[in-house]
Symmetry: C2
Subunit: 755 residues, 2 copies
C-alpha cells in the first residue's frame, strides 16, 4: 500500500471517535436528571455557564478575526513565496488555517462544557443509586469531551493538510498549516485566561466570605456566590482545559510534521510526515479500550465498615483504565513506526525499533508524571502533610511552607523530562542515515518528536479523567444544595476528591508533554528559518553567548513572570469585587442567614454570576495581548535567533513556573481537604501526629488550623487554576506564533541587520 | 610610567580606605553608649550575635578547608599544567587562593557585624540629642563596614595577583586567582544562608506570636524572641550582606581580569588586566567623597509641625551623597580608561571614550535600579498601595496581590539590564581592533565588563547605606526596650524606615550588578575553556539547540527554584520551633505579660537565641551543598558546554527569581508599615481612599487589615531576607565554581565524549 493512503487512518479513526463520543453522550443524556431541586440548581449552572461562554466567545471571535487578518497581511507583505505557492497563496492559506484552528479550538471548549454541565445533575442522581453508576455517568460525560476534542484536533489537522495539497506536495503543506496551530493556541489562551479568572474569582469570594467569615459549609445555598462558583468549575476547568489540550495536540502534531519534512526529503517516504497523525489515531483507539474497561461490573460498591473507601475504589479503576491505555499505546507506537518509518539505515537495530523505543520513553514519562504529581498533591505523602502541619502555626507559615513545597516540586519532573529527552534523542540518533544539522542529529530530534506523540496517545483518556473532575465537583454541589442524603454525599464527596487528583494529573501531563514537545517545536522553528534563509545552516545554532540571544532569553523568562503576575492580579481584582458583593448581600439582607430555614430567602445568585463574568472578560485581555506581542516585538527588534532564545528559555521558565503554580496550589488545596477529612490530629503539646493515631485531638473544620488551611487554598486557587494552566497555553503559543511569523523576523532582520 | 606600576593604585587606595574606616570607627566608638538600660540590651545583642557567628564560622571553616583540599586534589589530578605552571603548581595556587578568599570573606562578615553591633546603642543615644548626630553615627558605623569590605576585596585581589607573579606573567595569573573568588563565594553562600535563616526564624516568631497573638508592639521587652530578632538583624543583614558584596566585587573583578588577558595578549599592555583594580580604587575615593559630604551642618533638624519629616531629611542627604559618588565615579571611569586602555584602534572616537561610555552606562544602570526599587517598595507608589488595599479583604488577597506585584516587578529591571547590556556591548564593540570569537566581539564583552566595574564603583557607599539599615533598626529596638522618649522614637523610627529603603536598594543594586556581570563571567568561562581545549574556537558557542546544553539550561533554572525552596523551608522549620517556644513561654509564665509592670518578669531571651542559632546552622547545610554539587554534577555528566548553559540560564532565572523575592517581600513589609503609619483610610463602603484624605476612617494597628498586613510581611520575610539574598550569592557561586573546575569538566568530557 502506498504510504499516502495512511491519511485515511486518522480520518477514519477520527470519525469513529466522533461516533464513539456520540454513543457516550447518548448513554449519559438518557440518565435521569434527579429531583426538581437538583434540576433547579443544574439549570442555574447551565444558564450561567452558557451566558458566560457566549459573551466570552464574542470577544475572542473579534480578536481572532483581527489577528487572522493581521497574520495574512504580514505574510503577504513580508513573506517569502516560492514556485509552488507565492506570497498571496501563503498568506491566505495561513489566515484560513488560523481561523479554522481558532473555530475548532472554540468548539472544543464549548463541547467540553456543554456535556459536562449536562452530566452533573445526572451524576448526582446516579449517586443516589450506586457508586458504580455515578462513576460511569461522570467518567463517560468527561469522555465525550475527551474524545471529541482529540478527534477534532486529529480531523482538523488531517483534513487541512489534505485539502492544502499535503498528499501531492508533502514538503510544503506542513508549513501552510502552522496557522491552524496558532489559531488554536490563540483562542485557547483567551479561553483559559477568561475561564480561569472567572472560576477563581468566584471560588475565592465564595470561600473567604462564606466558609471563613460566615462559617457556612462549601456549596451552601445561602452563599450568594455558590452558583457562580459552580459555573466557574465548568467554564474554567472544562472549557479552558478543552481548548488547552486541543491546541497542545494540534501544535505538537504540526511541529512533528514539519520535522518530518526533512526526513521525507531524504527518503521520499511520506510516512514520516503522516506518522504523527497515524500514531495519534492509534492512541485514540487505545484510549477507547482503556475507557471501555471501566464498567459497572468491575466497580465494587463501597462499604466503609469493611474498609472499602469509595474514593479508593474509583481511583483504582481509573488507574487500571489508564494502564490499559498505556499498554495499547505501546503496541500502537511500535506498529506505527514499523509501518511508516521506513527507508533509512540505523545502528544495530532497524530504525522502527529505535523510534518505537523513543515512543515508549514518552509513554513511560507520562506514567512517571502521574506518580510524581500524586506524590506532591495527595494527602498520604510528605508534602501535603508538611503544609497541614504548618497550618497549626497560622496562615503565614502555611503560605511559606506551601511556597517551599511548590518551589521544590519542580525538581523531580525536570529530572524526568531531562532523562526522557536525552533517552529519546539518543534512541532517535541511532538512526544514523538521516544526517545532522551542526551538532544536532536529525534522527535524534525526530526521536523526541516520536516520544511526544507517544505521550499524547493517551490524551483522550486523560482529558476524560480531567473533565470528570468538574462534573463530580458540580454533582457534589448539586447534592449539597438539593439536600441529598448523607450516604449520597459520601459518594459525591469521594468522587470529588478523586476528581481533584485527576485534575492535578492532567496538568502534570500537560506540562510534561509541553516540555517534551518544546524541543521539537524549537527544531521545527529552526527548520523553518533554514528554509527562509536559503539553506543557511548557521540558523541551527542558538548561541547564548551572542548578546541578542542572551537578551531574548532573559526577556523570555521575564515574560513568564510578568504574564503570571497579570493572570494572578486579574483574579485578585475580580475576587475583591466578589468578596465585597457577598459581604454586602449578607449585610443588607439578613434573611439569607435566618436561623429558621423556613424564614430564609435565596440570595441574589445572578448578580455574583454577572460580577464574575464581567471581571473575567475585562481581565483576560491584557495578559493575552502581552503574551502575543512580546515575542513579536523581540523577533522584530532582536532578530530570529534572539526569538529562538526567547522561545527556548521562555519555555523552560514556563515549564518550571507552571509546575510550581499547579503543584503548589494543588498541595494547599489538599492540605485543606486533609484537615476537613479529620486527619489533622495533635498531641498535648500541639504538635501534629499521625493521621490515624487516635490518641490525639482532631482539629477539623472551623478550627484555627482549618482557617489557615482555607487561606492557603485560596492563595493557591489562582496559581493552580488561572496562572498555571494559562502558562501551558502560553508556552505553546510562543511556539506557534514564532513558527507563523518567522518570515517577518527574517525579513526585518535582512533589511536591518544587527551590528 | 610603565602600566605595571598602576598596581600601586589599588594597593595604596586600599590601604587608605582601611585608614579611613579606622577613622570612622574611631568617630563612632568615641560616642557614648547611652543609658544603662540601653547598654544592657546592646550587650545582650552583642553576645548573641558573637556567639552565633563563632559557631557558624566554625562550621563554615570545616566545610571550606575540605572544599579547598578537594579543589586542589581535582586540579592536581585532572588539571592541565603548562610550561609556566604545572599541575601541582596550579593546584596549590588555587587552593591557597581559595582559602585566602574564604578567610577574607569571613573577615568581611565579621567586621561588618562587629561595628554595626557597636554602633546601635550609640545611635540610640545620639538620637536623644539630634537627628544629625544619629544619622552621622549610624551611617558612619555602616561605612566602616562598607569601606573595609571593599578595601579587603581590592587588596586581596591585588596582592594575590602580585604575589602570584601577575606583573611578570600577566597572562597566567588571573586564572590562578579564580580560587580567591570561589573561596569568597563559598563562604558568602553559607554566611548568607545561615544569617538569613537565623534572622527570619526569629523575626517570624517574634511577629506572629508577639504582635498578632499577644498584641504587644514590635520590640517589646515582654516578647521572648525580641533579642533573637535584634541579633538576627545583625547576623543576617550585616554579616551576610558583607560577605555577599565582598564575593560579588571579588568575583566580578577577577572575571574582568580574565577577559583582560585576551586584550593584553593582543596589545601587550598590562593596563587591560589592571583596569578593573584601578577603576575600583577610584570608586573607593568617589564613595569616600560622597560619604564625607554628609555632615551635621547639612542636616536640618526635623520639625513635624513645619513639615520637616525626619525620614525625608535623612533620605535626601543619603541620595545627595549617592549622586556625588556617582558623579566622581563617572570622572573616574573615564580617567581610568584614558590611562590604561590604550594601544588599540576604534571607530570614530578613541577607544578610551567608548569604554568610558560603557562605564557610564553601568553607573546610570545603578541609578535606574535605585529608582525602580523605590517604585516597587516605597509606600508612595501604586504597588505598595495595591497590597495595602488588598489587606481589607483579608490575608489571602494580601498574599495573592503581593505575589502578583512581585512577579510583575521583574519586568522593568530586566528591561533596564537588557538596554545596559546592549549599550555597553555596542560601545565596546566600536573598538574594532580586538577581533571577535565567532559572533562575539571581544571589545563588546570588555564593554560589559567596564560597565560592571562602573556599577561597582559606588559599592562602598551602597554597602554603608545598607549596614545603616540594621544599625538603625537595632537602635529603634534599643530605644523601645530601654524606654526612650517619644521624640527620640520618632527619630529612630524614621531612620529605621529609611534603612528599610536602603536595604531594598542594596539588594536591587546587588542583583543589577550580578546581571550585568553575568555576561562577563560566562565569557571568562568560555575564555578558560578556549585555553583548556587548545584554542578550539567552537567552545565560544553555547548552543541551546544542542541537547546537553538544553538539559543543562533546564537544570539551571530548576536549581534556582529548588534552592529557593530549601532556603524558604529552612526558615519555615526554624520559625515553627520559635513560635512554639514563644507560645510556651507565654503559657507557662503568665508573669511575663502581667498587667502591672512592677509584677513583670523578663522572658527567657537566651533560649530563643539558642533556638535560632541551632536552627540556622543545621538548616544552612543542605541548600549550600545542593548549590555546590549541582553544577559540578552537570559539568561532569553533560560536559563543559552544558555547564555553560546551566550557568547562563541559571543566572537568568536567579536574577528574575531574586528580584521577585526581594521586591515582593519588600512591598509586603512596606504595605504593613503603610498601615502602621495610619495611611490606610477607608470610606463608608469599606473601600480604600487616599492616604491623606481625612474624610475616611483610619484602619491602623490591631485592625483586621493590619493583621492581614502582618501575615503578608511575615510571608515576605524569608523571601526578601533569606532566599533572595542567598540567590545573589548562588549565581556568583555558579560562575566561580565553573571557572575553577573547568579543567575537571574538560577532562571528563575528553575521556568520555558525548554521543
Amino acid at each position: 500500500m502506498n504510504n499516502s493512503s495512511y491519511i485515511f487512518v486518522p480520518i477514519i479513526v477520527g470519525l469513529l471517535a466522533v461516533a464513539f463520543a456520540a454513543y457516550l453522550a447518548n448513554y449519559v443524556l438518557r440518565k435521569d436528571t434527579g429531583t426538581p431541586a437538583m434540576q433547579k440548581v443544574a439549570d442555574a449552572i447551565f444558564k450561567g455557564a452558557m451566558a458566560f461562554l457566549y459573551r466570552q466567545y464574542r470577544t475572542i471571535a473579534m480578536l481572532a478575526i483581527l489577528a487572522g487578518i493581521l497574520v495574512g497581511v504580514v505574510l503577504f507583505l513580508l513573506g517569502q513565496g516560492n514556485a509552488q505557492c507565492n506570497q498571496f497563496c501563503l498568506a491566505w492559506h495561513t489566515s484560513i488555517a488560523f481561523w479554522i484552528g481558532a473555530a475548532c479550538s472554540a468548539l472544543s471548549g464549548y463541547i467540553g462544557m456543554y456535556v459536562a454541565v449536562k452530566s452533573n445533575s445526572r451524576t448526582a442522581s446516579a449517586a443516589t443509586r450506586s457508586l458504580g453508576e455515578a462513576l460511569m455517568v461522570s467518567l463517560r460525560g468527561g469522555a465525550v469531551s475527551g474524545f471529541l476534542v482529540v478527534a477534532l484536533s486529529l480531523l482538523g489537522v488531517s483534513l487541512v493538510f489534505t485539502i492544502y495539497g499535503g498528499l501531492s506536495n508533502p514538503a510544503l503543506a506542513p508549513s501552510l498549516i502552522v496557522g491552524f496551530g496558532f489559531g488554536a493556541s490563540f483562542v485557547a489562551l483567551f479561553a483559559q485566561l477568561g475561564g480561569g479568572i472567572y472560576t477563581k474569582a468566584a471560588d475565592v469570594g465564595a470561600d473567604l466570605v462564606g466558609k471563613v467569615e460566615a462559617g457556612i459549609p462549601e456549596d451552601d445555598p445561602r452563599n450568594p456566590a455558590v452558583i457562580a462558583d459552580l459555573v466557574g468549575d465548568n467554564v474554567g476547568d472544562c472549557a479552558g482545559r478543552g481548548a488547552d489540550l486541543f491546541e497542545s495536540t494540534a501544535a505538537e502534531n504540526i511541529g512533528a510534521m514539519i520535522l518530518g519534512v526533512a526526513l521525507y526529503l531524504a527518503t521520499k517516504n511520506i510516512g514520516w510526515i503522516l506518522f504523527p497523525l497515524v500514531v495519534r489515531a492509534f492512541g485514540l483507539i487505545a484510549s477507547a479500550l482503556g475507557l471501555l474497561w471501566i464498567r459497572p461490573s468491575v466497580v465494587i460498591e463501597p462499604d466503609k465498615a469493611a474498609g472499602r473507601d469509595p474514593g479508593e475504589i474509583a481511583m483504582n479503576q481509573l488507574n487500571i483504565g489508564y494502564f490499559i491505555t498505556c499498554g495499547f499505546s505501546i503496541i500502537g507506537v511500535f506498529l506505527g513506526s514499523y509501518l511508516l518509518l521506513t527507508g533509512i539505515k540505523a545502528q544495530f537495530l532497524p530504525a522502527w525499533v529505535w523510534f518505537g523505543l523513543a515512543g515508549l520513553t514518552g509513554i513511560l514519562l507520562s506514567v512517571a508524571f502521574v506518580y510524581i504529581t500524586q506524590y506532591y498533591t495527595a494527602g498520604t505523602w510528605r508534602p501535603v502533610r508538611e503544609i497541614a502541619a504548618a497550618t497549626l502555626t497560622g496562615p503565614a507559615t502555611t503560605i511559606i511552607t506551601g511556597v517551599a513545597v511548590g518551589f521544590e516540586c519542580v525538581a523531580l519532573p525536570v529530572l524526568a523530562i531531562s532523562v526522557a529527552l536525552a533517552l529519546s534523542y539518543f534512541f532517535g540518533s541511532r538512526v544514523t542515515g538521516l544526517g545532522a544539522h551542526g551538532v544536532i542529529s536529525v534522527g535524534g530530534i525526530f526521536g523526541t518528536a516520536v516520544a511526544t506523540m507517544g505521550m499524547l496517545m493517551s490524551c483522550a483518556y486523560i482529558l476524560a479523567m480531567d473533565t470528570f473532575g468538574p462534573i463530580t465537583d458540580n454533582a457534589g454541589g448539586i447534592t449539597e444544595m438539593g439536600g441529598g442524603a448523607e450516604s449520597v454525599r459520601d459518594i459525591t464527596d469521594a468522587l470529588d476528591g478523586v476528581g481533584n487528583t485527576t485534575k492535578a494529573l492532567t496538568k502534570g501531563y500537560g506540562i510534561g508533554s509541553a516540555a517534551l514537545a518544546a524541543f521539537l517545536l524549537f527544531s521545527a522553528y529552526l527548520d523553518v528559518l533554514y528554509t527562509l534563509e536559503h539553506n543557511n545552516a548557521s540558523v541551527y545554532s542558538v548561541d547564548l553567548a551572542d548578546i541578542p540571544v542572551f537578551i531574548g532569553a532573559l526577556i523570555g523568562i521575564t515574560l513568564i513572570f510578568f504574564f503570571s503576575s497579570l493572570a494572578i492580579r486579574a483574579v485578585g481584582a475580580a475576587a475583591k469585587r466578589m468578596i465585597e458583593e457577598v459581604r454586602r448581600q449578607f449585610r443588607e439582607n439578613p434573611k439569607i442567614m435566618a436561623e429558621n430555614p423556613a424564614d430564609r430567602v435565596d440570595p441574589d445568585y445572578a448578580r455574583c454570576v454577572d460580577i464574575s463574568t464581567r471581571g473575567a472578560l475585562r481581565a483576560m485581555i491584557l495578559p493575552g495581548v502581552v503574551a502575543v506581542l512580546t515575542p513579536i516585538a523581540v523577533g522584530i527588534i532582536l532578530g530570529p535567533q534572539a526569538e529562538a532564545g526567547l522561545l527556548m528559555v521562555g519555555t523552560m521558565g514556563g515549564i518550571v513556573m507552571a509546575t510550581f503554580l499547579n503543584n503548589g496550589g494543588g498541595a494547599w488545596d489538599n492540605a485543606k481537604k486533609y484537615i476537613e477529612a479529620g486527619y489533622l490530629r495533635v498531641n498535648k503539646e500541639g504538635e501534629m501526629i499521625g493521621r490515624l493515631d487516635t490518641s490525639g485531638t482532631v482539629l477539623g473544620k472551623k478550627s484555627e488550623a482549618h482557617k489557615a488551611g482555607v487561606i492557603g487554598d485560596t492563595v493557591g486557587d489562582p496559581f493552580k487554576d488561572t496562572a498555571g494552566p494559562s502558562l501551558h497555553v502560553l508556552i505553546k503559543l510562543l511556539s506557534t506564533i514564532t513558527l507563523v511569523l518567522a518570515p517577518l523576523y527574517v525579513y526585518v532582520n535582512t533589511i536591518f541587520p544587527h551590528p
